[in-house]
């Protein structure tokens, strides 16, 4: 009898074929109990098509034992961690090593993509640091994927600068030219910008930024609701850490927060810091109830994330970490970024809002991916996406983490 085992099974194979079974897959706003994932060459592939077309049997079968299977988390606002501060440059070597350290460390929190964030800084810093923060593929060697940089400032409002140094803040009387001058947008390293619509020249520059492929988020601003709506009309897609560093909600002019109530425009996404300190849980619940599909969980973590309590530096400003929740500017007691991890943000979001696990997960996966327009490869488990995958228990504790199809240690 001729062998029923075709030899093509062994040939034409460039990568290992991994099959994940018995998981509860978070996909299409649902938990799918009865499906499998196939991973090949670092991507999620169509298993049925692969089975019938190529006839390959999986090399490895991973039994998820009923755990939730979700896309890896995406953090679009992270100033640093593990002692590294993306806004402090000594030399290229140190910055590269620092980036590697953070990229690898974040995997232990289930964060497989991030947008390293630079606070308001002098021009030289941008020119030194941005070229080092260009998009970089995530994999076992590199760590979490760098999606590009987030420049938070310096085109922000003086009274709402938070922990940013006042002397670095800028206006843009020459419009987009001033942005080019400060950032040197030559190498497409900037993925996301936080800008205040009420800063001179900012609104007129949005078109130039967007044409450059940069996603615009508004924040650190005392903009009125009218100014905020104008920014959205001009293409702003997000609010930077909602409630923090913006005009408080007032019923006659709700300011940037008022965008959550707009019916005239497509409502923007909003980043929100879910450490329970930066924003009261009740406020998070209010934001979620008004616009659940817009929530994006951000850590806004600074260098002391992942370090013991003590005194550290944020963009050159001395800050103090006390306990595991709070970092303050030593001089004025203002909040100076958080030290929470993204997986804790997801747990908190579910606890604070009472949302289901799918919504909590999507707020740190699908939503940020949609904001940055990378939802075809990140933040989903659809066919064609990068195989950045996490296993979670029902309490959203991280059990396993895979990047580009390879498992990495989370301990």
């Amino acid at each position: 009898m001729p062998s029923q085992y075709s030899e093509k099974t062994l040939q034409s194979r460039t990568s290992r074929l991994v099959k994940i079974i018995n998981g509860r897959i978070v996909r299409d706003h649902k938990i799918i109990n009865d499906d499998v994932l196939y991973i090949y060459e670092g991507k999620i592939i169509d298993p049925q098509n692969h089975f019938f077309t190529y006839g390959n049997s999986p090399d490895t079968v991973i039994n998820a034992k009923g755990l939730l299977i979700a896309p890896g988390y995406i953090d679009i606002q992270i100033n640093g961690a593990f002692g590294v501060d993306f806004s402090v440059w000594k030399d290229d070597k140190q910055m590269k090593e620092g980036l590697d350290k953070v990229a690898k460390g974040l995997l232990k929190n289930g964060c497989t993509s991030f947008v390293p964030t630079i606070v308001s800084s002098p021009k030289e810093i941008y020119h030194k640091v941005l070229p080092l923060l260009k998009p970089r593929k995530g994999n076992k060697e590199n760590g979490a994927e760098v999606l590009g940089a987030h420049v938070e400032g310096p085109f922000i409002t003086q009274s709402k600068q938070g922990a940013h140094k006042e002397s670095y803040l800028r206006t843009a009387p020459n419009g987009f030219k001033d942005f080019i001058d400060i950032y040197g947008l030559y190498d497409h390293a900037v993925k996301l910008i936080t800008v205040a619509p009420d800063v001179e020249g900012a609104l007129d520059s949005l078109e130039g930024l967007i044409n450059f492929g940069i996603t615009v988020s508004i924040g650190h601003s005392s903009a009125t609701v009218a100014q905020a709506e104008l920014a959205v009309e001009k293409g702003a897609k997000c609010i930077t850490h909602l409630f923090n560093a913006m005009q408080q909600f007032h019923h006659r002019d709700p300011g940037i927060v008022g965008l959550l109530g707009t019916t005239r425009l497509a409502r923007p996404f909003y980043g929100i810091i879910c450490d329970g300190t930066h924003v009261h849980p009740n406020s998070i619940k209010i934001a979620y109830d008004s616009h659940p599909r817009g929530a994006i969980l951000v850590t806004d973590a600074m260098a002391a994330m992942g370090l013991p309590p003590g005194e550290y530096s944020l963009g050159g400003i001395p800050v103090r970490k006390s306990g595991n929740e709070k970092v303050e500017v030593i001089d004025n007691g203002k909040l100076a970024g958080s030290v929470i991890t993204i997986d804790e943000c997801v747990k908190n979001f579910k606890k604070f809002t009472g949302c289901n696990v799918i919504e909590a997960i999507e707020a740190a996966t699908l939503h940020p991916a949609e904001l940055l327009n990378v939802q075809n490869v990140k933040g989903t488990l659809d066919v064609g996406a990068d195989a950045d995958i996490i296993f979670l228990d029902d309490d959203l504790n991280l059990v396993k983490c895979f990047i580009a199809g390879e498992e990495v240690s989370i301990s």
Binding site: M1, Q4, T9, N22, D46, P47, Q48, F52, S57
Partner: protein, 311 residues
């Protein structure tokens, strides 16, 4: 032919799945001597596949050395279309188990030359030594695979035009739009199925009661194609109570009595899976029973001797 009657769909599924499992285990397939299984699609086998997946997950059964042949596939429907039988088999069975993709055989409804594809399929069945066990379901009109009423009972794998009724019935899977339903299918023939060394048919639901009665209580007839099973030396039908509604009481009692005799008088352990006798229990083989029988007899005898006419 054996007819096994169970109370409902779930019990039927459990029975047939356990049967398939035991047949495969008993066969003990290897790479050189694989178990060749014929498989249906549709509503009848869904429960069966669920059970088989459960067995696989519990490490009770492996499909590593099982080769499968499916009965049919639509013509012209993309292979990845959710209603294709490729998709059906993938979602209900193949993606869950350890079967080698090369051991799976489903007719290609998008082949350039459809007749050639049918010939190739038949040749493939032969090349692996024929089908050991062909499992099927039936339609309310007694059709098996796409062999609708009037199909030749000696038919082989071929292209078949679907009856208007079938297109209408299947439109529920295609947005209720009959224009989206494929009009042709590739299907194994009645002859292909009957050539398998064993055929097992699942029949459940009151809507299939007439078909069951036509297929087993009346003659072999191409208007009820599955009735060809009457000529098969090793045939098994597993049905639920609802499907027996049109059978004679006598027919139902007859088949139930056979199960009763096997289980209670011969002992299920003495009968092989396919009804063959492994060991016929003789009275000498069970001497310990004898003393128990004697006291039962004695009082009757005493009663006899105590009858008035003896006095």
């Amino acid at each position: 032919m054996r007819l096994i009657i169970r109370s409902d769909y779930d019990e039927v599924s459990e029975y047939i799945a356990t049967y398939v499992k035991n047949r495969i285990l008993e066969y003990n397939p290897t790479r050189e001597r694989p178990f060749v299984l014929g498989l249906p699609t549709g509503s009848s086998p869904v429960g069966l596949y669920k059970c088989l997946v459960k067995f696989y997950r519990n490490n009770e059964l492996s499909f590593k050395h099982v080769i499968t042949f499916n009965m049919d596939e639509y013509v012209g429907l993309p292979r990845d279309h959710p209603e294709s039988y490729h998709s059906f088999m993938w979602h209900h069975l193949f993606k869950h188990i350890d079967i080698a993709p090369d051991n799976v055989n489903i007719l290609d409804g998008n082949a350039e030359n459809l007749s050639e594809e049918c010939v190739r399929f038949e040749r493939k069945i032969k090349s692996v030594g024929g089908i050991e066990l062909f499992i099927g379901g039936i339609g309310p009109d007694g059709h098996i695979a796409f062999n609708e009423p009037g199909s030749s009972l000696t038919s082989r794998t071929r292209v078949k035009t679907l009856a208007y009724d079938t297109i209408l019935a299947n439109s529920r899977f295609f947005d209720n739009d009959i224009n989206k339903v494929p009009r042709m299918a590739l299907t194994v023939g009645v002859g292909t199925v009957m050539e398998a060394r064993e055929v097992a048919i699942i029949i459940t639901g009151a809507h299939k009661a007439i078909a069951l009665s036509k297929c087993i209580e009346e003659g072999v007839n191409h208007m009820w194609t599955v009735s060809a099973i009457q000529l098969h030396p090793k045939a098994l039908i597993v049905c639920d109570e609802d499907a027996t509604l049109e059978l004679h009481v006598k027919t139902v009692k007859y088949f139930k009595s056979i199960e009763h005799v096997i289980n209670n008088l011969i002992g299920a352990e003495n009968v092989g899976l396919q009804g063959n006798v492994k060991k016929y229990p003789t009275p000498e083989a069970t001497p310990e029973v004898t003393p128990e029988v004697t006291p039962e007899v004695t009082p009757i005898c005493e009663a006899f001797y105590n009858l008035p006419f003896k006095r």
